[in-house]
């Protein structure tokens, strides 16, 4: 289950990263539709948090503090990038979105390692 969600997060992040990269190349700032894309990622992350909580409650052995540190960190990255998109109306907001998607994807990998799924 976690692995399926992780693949979904990775695919969505890759798509959003590609979109952001395209905007960087075209010298454009982040648009609202990209933020909706980020919201979809956030939705999947929230679902993942729910699933993690349920599985942990059912007795999955994991370092809880470490795991939830990553879960919370992962959740705040894209909203911060979104805030940037409003403040900086240049291509650099697209660069920031690109970095943010990479960060979320990387945190997802660490999350899997902590969970013991890979």
């Amino acid at each position: 289950m976690i692995l399926v969600l992780a693949v979904l997060v990775a695919v969505l992040c890759a798509a959003l990263a590609g979109w952001a990269l395209w905007f960087v190349v075209r010298d454009r700032a982040v648009v609202l539709r990209q933020l909706w894309g980020g919201a979809v990622v956030e939705g999947v992350l929230l679902l993942q948090a729910l699933v993690l909580a349920v599985l942990q409650a059912r007795g999955h052995e994991v370092d809880g503090v470490l795991l939830w540190g990553y879960v919370v960190t992962q959740l705040v990255v894209l909203p911060l990038a979104a805030a940037w998109a409003f403040a900086e109306r240049t291509r650099w907001s697209s660069v920031v979105l690109l970095v943010a998607t990479f960060t979320v994807a990387f945190l997802e990998l660490r999350l899997l390692q902590i969970w013991g799924a890979v």
Partner: protein
């Protein structure tokens, strides 16, 4: 704000010659600093909170490093130049010192702090970032570095809040 209709490259916050540290390409710097601040502080809190007795010095340092990254992030974002100089400089010294110590294996620096082995656990970002930060501060500086004591930006703070 539904579309990117504003002209790229134009920034209303940069009148005159000087640039603010937190705009344009500086956003990227602030963003990467922010990610590192988040990562280092979270990790430091975790280490100090759960296993401080294993390696007190390294873990407290880990947390301090994280908090300094937070201050540096805010300073860069708000164009508080003096604070930014101090905190970014602190990181440079920190990563070089701890990086070297962890390589020659002096003291208890397990590979669990941001600065251990020059930040290899973080893709060497902690090593590269201070250089980029100092370069950016220099580049955007209205005055020569070091001579900016009284003529800083509007948001500059009176004194570094480190330590």
């Amino acid at each position: 704000m539904t579309d990117a209709t504003s002209a790229p490259g134009q920034d209303p916050a940069t009148p005159g010659t000087g640039n603010r540290t937190g705009t344009g390409a500086g956003r990227l710097l602030v963003a990467v600093y922010g990610v590192l601040a988040l990562a280092a502080t979270a990790r430091g809190l975790y280490q100090v909170g759960t296993k401080l007795d294993e390696a007190p010095l390294a873990y407290v340092l880990s947390l301090v490093a994280g908090l300094v990254y937070v201050v540096a992030t805010v300073a860069l974002a708000r164009d508080a130049r003096r604070t930014a100089w101090v905190t970014v400089g602190f990181e440079l010294v920190g990563v070089l010192t701890v990086g070297t110590l962890s390589l020659v294996d002096v003291g208890d620096f397990p590979d669990e702090t941001v600065w251990s082995r020059f930040g290899s656990g973080y893709g060497y970002v902690p090593l590269v970032l201070p250089f980029l930060g100092l370069w950016w501060l220099r580049r955007t500086g209205r005055d020569a570095p070091g001579a900016d004591a009284g003529t800083d930006g509007p948001d500059d703070e009176p004194a570094p809040t480190v330590g």
